[in-house]
Amino acid sequence: MSGRYLLRRTGLILYTLLVVSVLVFGITQVLPADAATMLLGENATPEQLAAIRERLGLNDPIWTQYLRWLGGVVTGDFGTSMRTGLPVLPQIAEALSRSLLLAALSIGLMLVLALPLGILAAVRRGRPVDLLVSLASYVGISLPEFVTATLAILVFADWLGWLPPTGYVPLTEDPARSLLHLILPVATISLILVAHVSRMVRSELVDALHTDYVRAARLKGLPERVVLRRHALRNALLPTITIVALDVGYVLGGIIVVEEIFAIPGIGRTLIVAVQNRDLPMIQAGALVMAATYCIANFLADLAYAALDRRIQYG
Protein backbone atom coordinates (compact mmCIF):
# COMPACT_ATOMS: atom_id res chain seq x y z
CA MET A 1 0.00 0.00 0.00
CA SER A 2 2.00 2.92 -1.25
CA GLY A 3 1.31 6.61 -0.79
CA ARG A 4 1.01 6.88 -4.55
CA TYR A 5 -1.83 4.36 -4.56
CA LEU A 6 -3.74 6.25 -1.86
CA LEU A 7 -3.26 9.50 -3.77
CA ARG A 8 -4.45 7.92 -7.02
CA ARG A 9 -7.47 6.36 -5.33
CA THR A 10 -8.44 9.67 -3.70
CA GLY A 11 -8.08 11.33 -7.09
CA LEU A 12 -10.44 8.76 -8.63
CA ILE A 13 -13.03 9.35 -5.92
CA LEU A 14 -12.85 13.10 -6.51
CA TYR A 15 -13.19 12.55 -10.28
CA THR A 16 -16.21 10.28 -9.68
CA LEU A 17 -17.87 12.90 -7.52
CA LEU A 18 -17.11 15.58 -10.12
CA VAL A 19 -18.74 13.50 -12.88
CA VAL A 20 -21.72 12.77 -10.63
CA SER A 21 -22.04 16.47 -9.76
CA VAL A 22 -22.10 17.42 -13.47
CA LEU A 23 -24.59 14.61 -14.18
CA VAL A 24 -26.92 15.51 -11.32
CA PHE A 25 -26.66 19.25 -11.90
CA GLY A 26 -27.32 18.69 -15.61
CA ILE A 27 -30.36 16.49 -14.96
CA THR A 28 -31.83 18.92 -12.43
CA GLN A 29 -31.35 21.84 -14.83
CA VAL A 30 -33.40 20.05 -17.49
CA LEU A 31 -36.17 19.37 -14.96
CA PRO A 32 -39.26 21.24 -16.08
CA ALA A 33 -39.31 23.41 -13.00
CA ASP A 34 -38.70 27.12 -12.58
CA ALA A 35 -37.01 27.80 -9.27
CA ALA A 36 -38.46 31.30 -9.05
CA THR A 37 -42.05 30.10 -9.54
CA MET A 38 -41.41 27.26 -7.08
CA LEU A 39 -40.34 29.77 -4.42
CA LEU A 40 -43.03 32.40 -4.88
CA GLY A 41 -45.96 30.23 -5.94
CA GLU A 42 -48.25 30.56 -8.97
CA ASN A 43 -49.59 34.00 -8.00
CA ALA A 44 -46.31 35.90 -8.12
CA THR A 45 -46.18 38.99 -10.35
CA PRO A 46 -43.69 39.05 -13.26
CA GLU A 47 -41.75 41.81 -11.44
CA GLN A 48 -41.33 39.69 -8.30
CA LEU A 49 -40.24 36.70 -10.42
CA ALA A 50 -37.69 38.82 -12.30
CA ALA A 51 -36.34 40.21 -9.03
CA ILE A 52 -35.88 36.81 -7.41
CA ARG A 53 -34.32 35.38 -10.60
CA GLU A 54 -31.80 38.20 -10.49
CA ARG A 55 -31.12 37.61 -6.79
CA LEU A 56 -30.66 33.82 -7.20
CA GLY A 57 -28.49 34.32 -10.28
CA LEU A 58 -30.83 32.26 -12.47
CA ASN A 59 -30.11 34.56 -15.42
CA ASP A 60 -26.40 33.70 -15.41
CA PRO A 61 -24.96 31.23 -17.93
CA ILE A 62 -25.41 27.60 -16.88
CA TRP A 63 -21.72 26.95 -16.22
CA THR A 64 -21.53 30.01 -13.94
CA GLN A 65 -24.45 28.58 -11.99
CA TYR A 66 -22.75 25.17 -11.88
CA LEU A 67 -19.45 26.58 -10.62
CA ARG A 68 -21.25 28.69 -8.01
CA TRP A 69 -23.14 25.58 -6.82
CA LEU A 70 -19.95 23.45 -6.84
CA GLY A 71 -18.10 26.17 -4.91
CA GLY A 72 -20.85 26.06 -2.30
CA VAL A 73 -20.74 22.26 -2.10
CA VAL A 74 -16.96 22.24 -1.61
CA THR A 75 -17.28 24.70 1.29
CA GLY A 76 -20.12 22.70 2.82
CA ASP A 77 -22.97 24.92 1.58
CA PHE A 78 -25.54 22.88 -0.33
CA GLY A 79 -27.98 25.79 -0.61
CA THR A 80 -31.49 26.01 0.82
CA SER A 81 -34.36 23.64 0.18
CA MET A 82 -36.99 25.12 -2.14
CA ARG A 83 -39.73 23.27 -0.30
CA THR A 84 -38.93 24.12 3.31
CA GLY A 85 -36.69 27.16 2.88
CA LEU A 86 -34.22 25.63 5.36
CA PRO A 87 -30.53 24.89 4.67
CA VAL A 88 -30.09 21.56 2.86
CA LEU A 89 -27.01 20.28 4.68
CA PRO A 90 -28.46 19.74 8.21
CA GLN A 91 -31.56 18.04 6.75
CA ILE A 92 -29.44 15.76 4.55
CA ALA A 93 -27.09 14.95 7.44
CA GLU A 94 -29.96 13.98 9.72
CA ALA A 95 -31.66 11.89 7.03
CA LEU A 96 -28.33 10.23 6.20
CA SER A 97 -27.74 9.24 9.82
CA ARG A 98 -31.10 7.40 9.87
CA SER A 99 -30.37 5.70 6.55
CA LEU A 100 -26.88 4.66 7.63
CA LEU A 101 -28.37 2.99 10.72
CA LEU A 102 -30.81 1.12 8.47
CA ALA A 103 -28.03 0.17 6.02
CA ALA A 104 -25.60 -0.91 8.74
CA LEU A 105 -28.18 -3.13 10.46
CA SER A 106 -29.15 -4.64 7.08
CA ILE A 107 -25.57 -5.42 6.10
CA GLY A 108 -24.90 -6.80 9.59
CA LEU A 109 -27.94 -9.10 9.45
CA MET A 110 -26.95 -10.13 5.94
CA LEU A 111 -23.44 -11.19 7.04
CA VAL A 112 -24.82 -13.17 9.99
CA LEU A 113 -27.14 -15.11 7.65
CA ALA A 114 -25.35 -15.22 4.30
CA LEU A 115 -21.94 -16.53 5.44
CA PRO A 116 -23.23 -19.66 7.28
CA LEU A 117 -25.75 -20.39 4.50
CA GLY A 118 -23.13 -20.08 1.77
CA ILE A 119 -20.62 -22.21 3.69
CA LEU A 120 -23.25 -24.85 4.45
CA ALA A 121 -24.31 -25.04 0.80
CA ALA A 122 -20.70 -25.34 -0.40
CA VAL A 123 -19.73 -28.02 2.14
CA ARG A 124 -22.86 -30.04 1.38
CA ARG A 125 -22.62 -29.44 -2.37
CA GLY A 126 -25.20 -31.38 -4.36
CA ARG A 127 -27.09 -32.50 -1.24
CA PRO A 128 -30.69 -31.45 -0.47
CA VAL A 129 -29.60 -28.57 1.79
CA ASP A 130 -27.50 -27.10 -1.05
CA LEU A 131 -30.46 -27.28 -3.44
CA LEU A 132 -32.70 -25.69 -0.81
CA VAL A 133 -30.28 -22.78 -0.29
CA SER A 134 -29.91 -22.33 -4.06
CA LEU A 135 -33.65 -22.37 -4.59
CA ALA A 136 -34.25 -19.90 -1.78
CA SER A 137 -31.56 -17.59 -3.11
CA TYR A 138 -33.11 -17.61 -6.60
CA VAL A 139 -36.43 -16.56 -5.09
CA GLY A 140 -34.64 -14.01 -2.88
CA ILE A 141 -32.88 -12.18 -5.72
CA SER A 142 -36.08 -12.21 -7.79
CA LEU A 143 -38.29 -10.35 -5.32
CA PRO A 144 -38.08 -6.55 -5.65
CA GLU A 145 -38.00 -4.68 -2.32
CA PHE A 146 -41.49 -3.24 -2.77
CA VAL A 147 -42.94 -6.75 -3.09
CA THR A 148 -41.05 -8.10 -0.05
CA ALA A 149 -41.94 -5.04 2.01
CA THR A 150 -45.63 -5.16 1.09
CA LEU A 151 -45.89 -8.89 1.80
CA ALA A 152 -43.97 -8.48 5.08
CA ILE A 153 -46.41 -5.79 6.23
CA LEU A 154 -49.35 -7.97 5.17
CA VAL A 155 -48.12 -11.02 7.10
CA PHE A 156 -46.31 -9.65 10.18
CA ALA A 157 -48.31 -6.48 10.82
CA ASP A 158 -51.80 -7.14 9.42
CA TRP A 159 -52.30 -10.87 9.95
CA LEU A 160 -50.06 -11.74 12.87
CA GLY A 161 -49.93 -8.29 14.47
CA TRP A 162 -46.42 -8.96 15.78
CA LEU A 163 -44.75 -5.83 14.43
CA PRO A 164 -45.77 -2.23 13.68
CA PRO A 165 -46.53 -1.80 9.95
CA THR A 166 -44.80 1.56 9.26
CA GLY A 167 -43.34 4.55 11.02
CA TYR A 168 -40.08 5.63 12.54
CA VAL A 169 -39.06 6.17 16.17
CA PRO A 170 -35.66 7.80 16.84
CA LEU A 171 -33.17 5.48 18.55
CA THR A 172 -32.46 8.10 21.22
CA GLU A 173 -36.15 8.49 22.10
CA ASP A 174 -37.14 4.89 22.73
CA PRO A 175 -34.50 2.31 21.69
CA ALA A 176 -36.77 -0.73 22.05
CA ARG A 177 -39.62 0.67 19.98
CA SER A 178 -37.13 2.12 17.50
CA LEU A 179 -35.62 -1.32 16.85
CA LEU A 180 -39.09 -2.89 16.68
CA HIS A 181 -39.96 -0.48 13.88
CA LEU A 182 -36.70 -1.28 12.10
CA ILE A 183 -37.15 -5.08 12.00
CA LEU A 184 -39.29 -5.26 8.85
CA PRO A 185 -37.31 -2.65 6.85
CA VAL A 186 -33.99 -4.29 7.78
CA ALA A 187 -35.31 -7.76 6.92
CA THR A 188 -36.59 -6.47 3.57
CA ILE A 189 -33.25 -4.96 2.54
CA SER A 190 -31.28 -7.97 3.83
CA LEU A 191 -33.30 -10.59 1.95
CA ILE A 192 -31.99 -9.76 -1.52
CA LEU A 193 -28.45 -9.29 -0.13
CA VAL A 194 -28.49 -12.63 1.71
CA ALA A 195 -29.62 -14.31 -1.51
CA HIS A 196 -26.85 -12.68 -3.54
CA VAL A 197 -23.96 -12.93 -1.08
CA SER A 198 -24.68 -16.52 0.04
CA ARG A 199 -24.49 -17.59 -3.61
CA MET A 200 -21.17 -15.80 -4.03
CA VAL A 201 -19.77 -17.33 -0.83
CA ARG A 202 -20.89 -20.77 -2.00
CA SER A 203 -19.24 -20.50 -5.40
CA GLU A 204 -15.99 -19.04 -3.97
CA LEU A 205 -15.79 -21.79 -1.37
CA VAL A 206 -16.58 -24.54 -3.90
CA ASP A 207 -13.68 -23.24 -6.00
CA ALA A 208 -11.40 -23.06 -2.95
CA LEU A 209 -12.25 -26.63 -1.93
CA HIS A 210 -11.00 -27.83 -5.32
CA THR A 211 -7.58 -26.17 -5.12
CA ASP A 212 -4.27 -27.95 -4.71
CA TYR A 213 -3.54 -26.45 -1.30
CA VAL A 214 -6.78 -27.85 0.11
CA ARG A 215 -5.95 -31.23 -1.42
CA ALA A 216 -2.51 -31.05 0.15
CA ALA A 217 -3.98 -30.15 3.54
CA ARG A 218 -6.36 -33.13 3.32
CA LEU A 219 -3.62 -35.49 2.19
CA LYS A 220 -1.39 -34.61 5.12
CA GLY A 221 -4.23 -35.83 7.33
CA LEU A 222 -5.72 -32.65 8.74
CA PRO A 223 -9.29 -32.99 9.98
CA GLU A 224 -11.86 -31.59 7.52
CA ARG A 225 -12.84 -28.89 10.04
CA VAL A 226 -9.31 -27.52 10.17
CA VAL A 227 -8.94 -27.72 6.37
CA LEU A 228 -12.11 -25.69 6.04
CA ARG A 229 -11.27 -23.05 8.65
CA ARG A 230 -7.56 -22.57 8.18
CA HIS A 231 -7.18 -23.17 4.46
CA ALA A 232 -10.33 -22.90 2.38
CA LEU A 233 -12.38 -20.23 4.19
CA ARG A 234 -9.55 -17.74 4.54
CA ASN A 235 -9.22 -17.47 0.78
CA ALA A 236 -12.86 -17.97 -0.09
CA LEU A 237 -14.18 -15.22 2.17
CA LEU A 238 -11.84 -12.47 0.97
CA PRO A 239 -13.69 -11.71 -2.29
CA THR A 240 -16.87 -11.36 -0.21
CA ILE A 241 -15.56 -8.01 1.01
CA THR A 242 -15.53 -6.66 -2.55
CA ILE A 243 -18.94 -8.15 -3.33
CA VAL A 244 -20.48 -6.60 -0.22
CA ALA A 245 -18.97 -3.22 -1.12
CA LEU A 246 -20.38 -3.38 -4.64
CA ASP A 247 -23.75 -4.35 -3.15
CA VAL A 248 -23.73 -1.08 -1.19
CA GLY A 249 -24.94 0.54 -4.41
CA TYR A 250 -27.82 -1.89 -4.41
CA VAL A 251 -28.56 -1.23 -0.74
CA LEU A 252 -28.75 2.51 -1.46
CA GLY A 253 -31.27 1.88 -4.25
CA GLY A 254 -33.25 -0.48 -2.02
CA ILE A 255 -33.26 2.07 0.78
CA ILE A 256 -35.16 4.51 -1.45
CA VAL A 257 -38.07 2.08 -1.86
CA VAL A 258 -38.00 0.68 1.67
CA GLU A 259 -37.94 4.10 3.34
CA GLU A 260 -40.83 5.21 1.15
CA ILE A 261 -42.95 2.17 2.06
CA PHE A 262 -42.14 2.11 5.78
CA ALA A 263 -42.29 5.92 6.10
CA ILE A 264 -38.73 6.27 7.42
CA PRO A 265 -37.47 9.87 7.07
CA GLY A 266 -34.06 8.88 5.70
CA ILE A 267 -32.11 9.95 2.63
CA GLY A 268 -34.18 7.78 0.25
CA ARG A 269 -37.51 9.23 1.29
CA THR A 270 -35.98 12.71 1.29
CA LEU A 271 -34.96 12.13 -2.33
CA ILE A 272 -38.41 10.88 -3.36
CA VAL A 273 -40.09 13.87 -1.73
CA ALA A 274 -37.53 16.15 -3.39
CA VAL A 275 -38.16 14.59 -6.82
CA GLN A 276 -41.94 14.88 -6.37
CA ASN A 277 -41.63 18.55 -5.39
CA ARG A 278 -38.84 19.33 -7.85
CA ASP A 279 -36.74 20.57 -4.94
CA LEU A 280 -33.53 20.97 -6.97
CA PRO A 281 -30.94 21.73 -4.22
CA MET A 282 -32.23 18.76 -2.22
CA ILE A 283 -32.08 16.36 -5.20
CA GLN A 284 -28.54 17.50 -6.01
CA ALA A 285 -27.29 17.10 -2.45
CA GLY A 286 -29.04 13.76 -1.89
CA ALA A 287 -27.75 12.16 -5.09
CA LEU A 288 -24.22 13.44 -4.45
CA VAL A 289 -24.23 12.09 -0.89
CA MET A 290 -25.42 8.66 -2.12
CA ALA A 291 -22.66 8.49 -4.74
CA ALA A 292 -20.08 9.57 -2.15
CA THR A 293 -21.26 6.84 0.23
CA TYR A 294 -20.84 4.24 -2.52
CA CYS A 295 -17.32 5.48 -3.38
CA ILE A 296 -16.18 5.51 0.24
CA ALA A 297 -17.57 2.01 0.87
CA ASN A 298 -15.65 0.63 -2.11
CA PHE A 299 -12.49 2.47 -1.11
CA LEU A 300 -12.68 1.04 2.43
CA ALA A 301 -13.30 -2.43 0.99
CA ASP A 302 -10.14 -2.21 -1.12
CA LEU A 303 -8.14 -1.08 1.92
CA ALA A 304 -9.56 -3.92 4.03
CA TYR A 305 -8.81 -6.43 1.28
CA ALA A 306 -5.20 -5.31 1.03
CA ALA A 307 -4.82 -5.33 4.82
CA LEU A 308 -6.16 -8.90 5.08
CA ASP A 309 -4.41 -10.33 2.05
CA ARG A 310 -0.69 -9.53 2.06
CA ARG A 311 -0.30 -10.92 -1.47
CA ILE A 312 -2.15 -7.90 -2.85
CA GLN A 313 0.19 -5.02 -3.59
CA TYR A 314 -1.52 -1.90 -4.83
CA GLY A 315 1.12 0.11 -6.64
Binding site: I27, S142, F146, G253
Partner: protein, 274 residues
Amino acid sequence: MAELLRRLLRSPQGAIGLALVLLVLVLALAGPALAPHDPEALSPLRRYRPPSADYLLGTDQLGRDILSRLLAGARATVLLALLATALGTLAGAVIGTASAFLGGKVDEAVMRTVDAVMAVPSLLLSLLIVSVLGRGAENAVLAIAIAFTPGMARITRSVALAVRQQDYVNAAIARGEGAGYIVLREMLPNVIAPIVVEMSIRVAFAVMLFATLSFLGLGAQPPASEWGLMVSEARRFMHLSPWMILWPAAAIALVAVGFNLLGDGLRDALNPRT
Protein backbone atom coordinates in the same frame (compact mmCIF):
# COMPACT_ATOMS: atom_id res chain seq x y z
CA MET B 1 -26.23 -23.63 -31.56
CA ALA B 2 -27.71 -27.13 -31.14
CA GLU B 3 -24.72 -28.03 -29.01
CA LEU B 4 -25.33 -24.97 -26.83
CA LEU B 5 -29.01 -25.87 -26.42
CA ARG B 6 -28.06 -29.42 -25.43
CA ARG B 7 -25.62 -28.15 -22.81
CA LEU B 8 -28.17 -25.62 -21.60
CA LEU B 9 -30.88 -28.27 -21.17
CA ARG B 10 -28.50 -30.59 -19.33
CA SER B 11 -28.32 -28.29 -16.30
CA PRO B 12 -31.48 -28.01 -14.17
CA GLN B 13 -31.18 -24.18 -14.03
CA GLY B 14 -30.93 -23.93 -17.80
CA ALA B 15 -33.83 -26.28 -18.49
CA ILE B 16 -36.20 -24.74 -15.93
CA GLY B 17 -35.11 -21.19 -16.84
CA LEU B 18 -35.64 -21.76 -20.56
CA ALA B 19 -39.06 -23.34 -19.94
CA LEU B 20 -40.15 -20.47 -17.68
CA VAL B 21 -38.92 -17.77 -20.06
CA LEU B 22 -40.59 -19.42 -23.08
CA LEU B 23 -43.84 -19.76 -21.12
CA VAL B 24 -43.69 -16.10 -20.07
CA LEU B 25 -42.95 -14.94 -23.62
CA VAL B 26 -45.86 -16.95 -25.02
CA LEU B 27 -48.15 -15.53 -22.35
CA ALA B 28 -46.88 -12.00 -23.01
CA LEU B 29 -47.45 -12.29 -26.77
CA ALA B 30 -50.74 -14.23 -26.67
CA GLY B 31 -51.92 -12.79 -23.33
CA PRO B 32 -54.85 -10.64 -24.45
CA ALA B 33 -56.19 -13.48 -26.62
CA LEU B 34 -56.01 -15.97 -23.73
CA ALA B 35 -57.68 -13.69 -21.19
CA PRO B 36 -61.01 -15.20 -20.08
CA HIS B 37 -62.53 -11.78 -19.36
CA ASP B 38 -62.10 -8.20 -20.52
CA PRO B 39 -59.27 -6.87 -18.30
CA GLU B 40 -60.95 -3.45 -18.12
CA ALA B 41 -64.54 -4.68 -17.56
CA LEU B 42 -65.91 -3.47 -14.21
CA SER B 43 -68.39 -5.56 -12.24
CA PRO B 44 -69.33 -3.64 -9.09
CA LEU B 45 -71.25 -6.63 -7.71
CA ARG B 46 -68.26 -8.97 -7.91
CA ARG B 47 -65.52 -7.10 -6.08
CA TYR B 48 -62.73 -8.65 -3.91
CA ARG B 49 -63.71 -12.19 -4.98
CA PRO B 50 -61.32 -14.96 -3.92
CA PRO B 51 -60.26 -17.41 -6.64
CA SER B 52 -63.19 -19.38 -8.08
CA ALA B 53 -64.04 -21.42 -11.18
CA ASP B 54 -65.28 -18.33 -13.00
CA TYR B 55 -62.52 -15.97 -11.82
CA LEU B 56 -59.50 -18.26 -11.50
CA LEU B 57 -57.40 -15.75 -9.54
CA GLY B 58 -60.26 -13.67 -8.09
CA THR B 59 -61.30 -10.08 -8.76
CA ASP B 60 -59.92 -6.69 -7.67
CA GLN B 61 -61.39 -3.59 -6.01
CA LEU B 62 -63.39 -2.71 -9.15
CA GLY B 63 -64.51 -6.28 -9.85
CA ARG B 64 -62.01 -6.73 -12.68
CA ASP B 65 -60.69 -10.24 -13.38
CA ILE B 66 -57.15 -10.47 -11.96
CA LEU B 67 -56.04 -13.27 -14.31
CA SER B 68 -57.08 -11.27 -17.38
CA ARG B 69 -55.32 -8.19 -16.01
CA LEU B 70 -52.12 -10.15 -15.32
CA LEU B 71 -52.17 -11.57 -18.86
CA ALA B 72 -52.73 -8.13 -20.37
CA GLY B 73 -50.04 -6.64 -18.12
CA ALA B 74 -47.47 -9.28 -19.10
CA ARG B 75 -46.94 -7.37 -22.32
CA ALA B 76 -46.23 -4.10 -20.49
CA THR B 77 -44.06 -5.66 -17.80
CA VAL B 78 -42.04 -8.27 -19.69
CA LEU B 79 -41.79 -6.89 -23.21
CA LEU B 80 -40.95 -3.36 -22.06
CA ALA B 81 -38.31 -4.74 -19.68
CA LEU B 82 -36.84 -6.70 -22.61
CA LEU B 83 -36.88 -3.56 -24.74
CA ALA B 84 -35.18 -1.50 -22.02
CA THR B 85 -32.47 -4.14 -21.58
CA ALA B 86 -31.92 -4.42 -25.34
CA LEU B 87 -31.56 -0.64 -25.70
CA GLY B 88 -29.18 -0.40 -22.74
CA THR B 89 -27.14 -3.34 -24.02
CA LEU B 90 -26.87 -1.86 -27.51
CA ALA B 91 -25.74 1.54 -26.20
CA GLY B 92 -23.35 -0.11 -23.73
CA ALA B 93 -21.93 -2.44 -26.40
CA VAL B 94 -21.20 0.47 -28.75
CA ILE B 95 -19.49 2.50 -26.00
CA GLY B 96 -17.58 -0.51 -24.63
CA THR B 97 -16.36 -1.73 -28.02
CA ALA B 98 -15.38 1.76 -29.12
CA SER B 99 -13.49 2.31 -25.86
CA ALA B 100 -11.63 -1.01 -26.20
CA PHE B 101 -10.89 -0.27 -29.87
CA LEU B 102 -9.58 3.25 -29.23
CA GLY B 103 -7.53 2.18 -26.19
CA GLY B 104 -4.96 4.28 -24.36
CA LYS B 105 -5.95 7.57 -22.77
CA VAL B 106 -9.40 7.67 -24.41
CA ASP B 107 -10.20 4.21 -23.03
CA GLU B 108 -9.00 5.25 -19.57
CA ALA B 109 -11.10 8.44 -19.62
CA VAL B 110 -14.23 6.68 -20.90
CA MET B 111 -13.96 3.87 -18.34
CA ARG B 112 -13.34 6.21 -15.38
CA THR B 113 -16.41 8.16 -16.40
CA VAL B 114 -18.43 4.96 -16.77
CA ASP B 115 -17.30 3.92 -13.28
CA ALA B 116 -18.31 7.34 -11.97
CA VAL B 117 -21.82 7.06 -13.39
CA MET B 118 -22.09 3.59 -11.85
CA ALA B 119 -21.61 5.17 -8.41
CA VAL B 120 -25.19 6.42 -8.71
CA PRO B 121 -27.58 3.55 -7.83
CA SER B 122 -29.58 2.40 -10.91
CA LEU B 123 -32.89 3.09 -9.19
CA LEU B 124 -31.83 6.64 -8.27
CA LEU B 125 -30.52 7.33 -11.78
CA SER B 126 -33.71 6.08 -13.43
CA LEU B 127 -35.77 7.99 -10.85
CA LEU B 128 -33.96 11.22 -11.79
CA ILE B 129 -34.26 10.55 -15.53
CA VAL B 130 -37.99 9.81 -15.29
CA SER B 131 -38.50 13.00 -13.30
CA VAL B 132 -36.91 14.92 -16.19
CA LEU B 133 -38.70 13.08 -19.01
CA GLY B 134 -42.02 12.90 -17.17
CA ARG B 135 -43.77 9.85 -15.75
CA GLY B 136 -44.97 7.13 -18.09
CA ALA B 137 -44.07 3.65 -19.33
CA GLU B 138 -42.06 4.81 -22.39
CA ASN B 139 -39.96 7.18 -20.31
CA ALA B 140 -39.38 4.49 -17.68
CA VAL B 141 -38.06 2.19 -20.45
CA LEU B 142 -35.67 4.91 -21.62
CA ALA B 143 -34.56 5.61 -18.05
CA ILE B 144 -33.80 1.93 -17.37
CA ALA B 145 -31.93 1.69 -20.68
CA ILE B 146 -29.76 4.69 -19.74
CA ALA B 147 -29.21 3.33 -16.22
CA PHE B 148 -28.05 -0.03 -17.68
CA THR B 149 -25.69 1.49 -20.28
CA PRO B 150 -22.59 2.05 -18.08
CA GLY B 151 -22.64 -1.50 -16.67
CA MET B 152 -23.02 -3.06 -20.12
CA ALA B 153 -20.27 -0.78 -21.50
CA ARG B 154 -17.88 -2.01 -18.80
CA ILE B 155 -18.65 -5.68 -19.48
CA THR B 156 -18.47 -5.34 -23.27
CA ARG B 157 -15.14 -3.55 -23.03
CA SER B 158 -13.55 -6.18 -20.81
CA VAL B 159 -14.81 -8.99 -23.07
CA ALA B 160 -13.69 -7.20 -26.23
CA LEU B 161 -10.22 -6.58 -24.75
CA ALA B 162 -9.88 -10.23 -23.73
CA VAL B 163 -11.02 -11.49 -27.13
CA ARG B 164 -8.63 -9.15 -28.92
CA GLN B 165 -5.71 -10.86 -27.10
CA GLN B 166 -6.77 -14.40 -28.06
CA ASP B 167 -4.52 -16.59 -30.17
CA TYR B 168 -7.21 -17.17 -32.78
CA VAL B 169 -7.40 -13.43 -33.44
CA ASN B 170 -3.62 -13.22 -33.69
CA ALA B 171 -3.68 -16.25 -35.97
CA ALA B 172 -6.23 -14.54 -38.20
CA ILE B 173 -4.04 -11.43 -38.32
CA ALA B 174 -1.01 -13.59 -39.14
CA ARG B 175 -2.99 -15.30 -41.92
CA GLY B 176 -3.45 -11.84 -43.38
CA GLU B 177 -7.24 -11.65 -42.96
CA GLY B 178 -8.89 -8.26 -43.39
CA ALA B 179 -10.03 -6.17 -40.42
CA GLY B 180 -13.70 -6.69 -41.34
CA TYR B 181 -13.29 -10.48 -41.38
CA ILE B 182 -11.49 -10.47 -38.02
CA VAL B 183 -14.07 -8.24 -36.31
CA LEU B 184 -17.12 -9.98 -37.77
CA ARG B 185 -16.06 -13.64 -37.98
CA GLU B 186 -13.50 -13.99 -35.20
CA MET B 187 -14.28 -11.38 -32.53
CA LEU B 188 -18.01 -10.72 -32.68
CA PRO B 189 -19.24 -14.31 -32.10
CA ASN B 190 -17.03 -14.51 -29.01
CA VAL B 191 -18.07 -11.12 -27.70
CA ILE B 192 -21.78 -11.78 -28.11
CA ALA B 193 -21.97 -14.88 -25.91
CA PRO B 194 -20.96 -13.28 -22.57
CA ILE B 195 -23.13 -10.26 -23.40
CA VAL B 196 -26.18 -12.47 -23.97
CA VAL B 197 -25.58 -14.11 -20.58
CA GLU B 198 -25.33 -10.74 -18.88
CA MET B 199 -28.41 -9.54 -20.76
CA SER B 200 -30.64 -12.37 -19.62
CA ILE B 201 -29.72 -11.69 -15.99
CA ARG B 202 -30.28 -7.96 -16.58
CA VAL B 203 -33.79 -8.62 -17.93
CA ALA B 204 -34.71 -10.00 -14.50
CA PHE B 205 -33.38 -6.80 -12.96
CA ALA B 206 -35.18 -4.67 -15.57
CA VAL B 207 -38.51 -6.37 -14.78
CA MET B 208 -37.96 -5.58 -11.10
CA LEU B 209 -36.81 -2.00 -11.77
CA PHE B 210 -39.70 -1.28 -14.13
CA ALA B 211 -42.21 -2.67 -11.63
CA THR B 212 -40.56 -0.60 -8.88
CA LEU B 213 -40.83 2.61 -10.93
CA SER B 214 -44.50 1.85 -11.62
CA PHE B 215 -45.00 1.08 -7.95
CA LEU B 216 -43.59 4.53 -7.09
CA GLY B 217 -46.05 6.06 -9.58
CA LEU B 218 -43.37 6.97 -12.15
CA GLY B 219 -43.71 4.14 -14.69
CA ALA B 220 -46.91 2.72 -16.16
CA GLN B 221 -49.99 4.78 -15.27
CA PRO B 222 -53.51 3.61 -14.30
CA PRO B 223 -55.63 1.99 -15.63
CA ALA B 224 -52.74 -0.03 -17.13
CA SER B 225 -52.35 -3.48 -15.59
CA GLU B 226 -48.57 -3.36 -15.25
CA TRP B 227 -47.70 -5.74 -12.40
CA GLY B 228 -45.85 -3.24 -10.17
CA LEU B 229 -48.75 -0.84 -10.53
CA MET B 230 -51.18 -3.66 -9.63
CA VAL B 231 -49.26 -4.32 -6.39
CA SER B 232 -49.21 -0.59 -5.63
CA GLU B 233 -52.99 -0.24 -6.15
CA ALA B 234 -53.75 -3.44 -4.25
CA ARG B 235 -51.87 -2.21 -1.16
CA ARG B 236 -54.81 -0.09 -0.06
CA PHE B 237 -57.17 -3.06 -0.26
CA MET B 238 -54.96 -5.84 1.07
CA HIS B 239 -57.07 -6.25 4.22
CA LEU B 240 -60.08 -6.95 2.02
CA SER B 241 -58.41 -9.33 -0.41
CA PRO B 242 -54.78 -10.44 -0.09
CA TRP B 243 -55.08 -12.26 -3.45
CA MET B 244 -54.92 -8.92 -5.24
CA ILE B 245 -51.36 -8.45 -4.00
CA LEU B 246 -50.18 -12.05 -4.03
CA TRP B 247 -50.80 -12.77 -7.74
CA PRO B 248 -48.94 -9.84 -9.33
CA ALA B 249 -46.15 -10.25 -6.75
CA ALA B 250 -45.84 -13.92 -7.66
CA ALA B 251 -45.88 -13.06 -11.37
CA ILE B 252 -42.98 -10.59 -10.98
CA ALA B 253 -40.99 -13.13 -8.95
CA LEU B 254 -41.68 -15.93 -11.45
CA VAL B 255 -40.45 -13.92 -14.43
CA ALA B 256 -37.36 -12.72 -12.55
CA VAL B 257 -36.57 -16.27 -11.38
CA GLY B 258 -36.95 -17.50 -14.97
CA PHE B 259 -34.51 -15.01 -16.44
CA ASN B 260 -32.05 -15.46 -13.55
CA LEU B 261 -32.07 -19.25 -14.02
CA LEU B 262 -31.71 -18.91 -17.79
CA GLY B 263 -28.79 -16.50 -17.37
CA ASP B 264 -26.97 -18.84 -14.99
CA GLY B 265 -27.74 -21.83 -17.20
CA LEU B 266 -26.39 -20.01 -20.26
CA ARG B 267 -23.26 -18.99 -18.36
CA ASP B 268 -22.56 -22.61 -17.41
CA ALA B 269 -23.38 -23.85 -20.91
CA LEU B 270 -21.00 -21.34 -22.50
CA ASN B 271 -18.24 -21.98 -19.97
CA PRO B 272 -15.91 -24.51 -21.58
CA ARG B 273 -14.50 -25.58 -18.22
CA THR B 274 -17.68 -27.26 -16.99
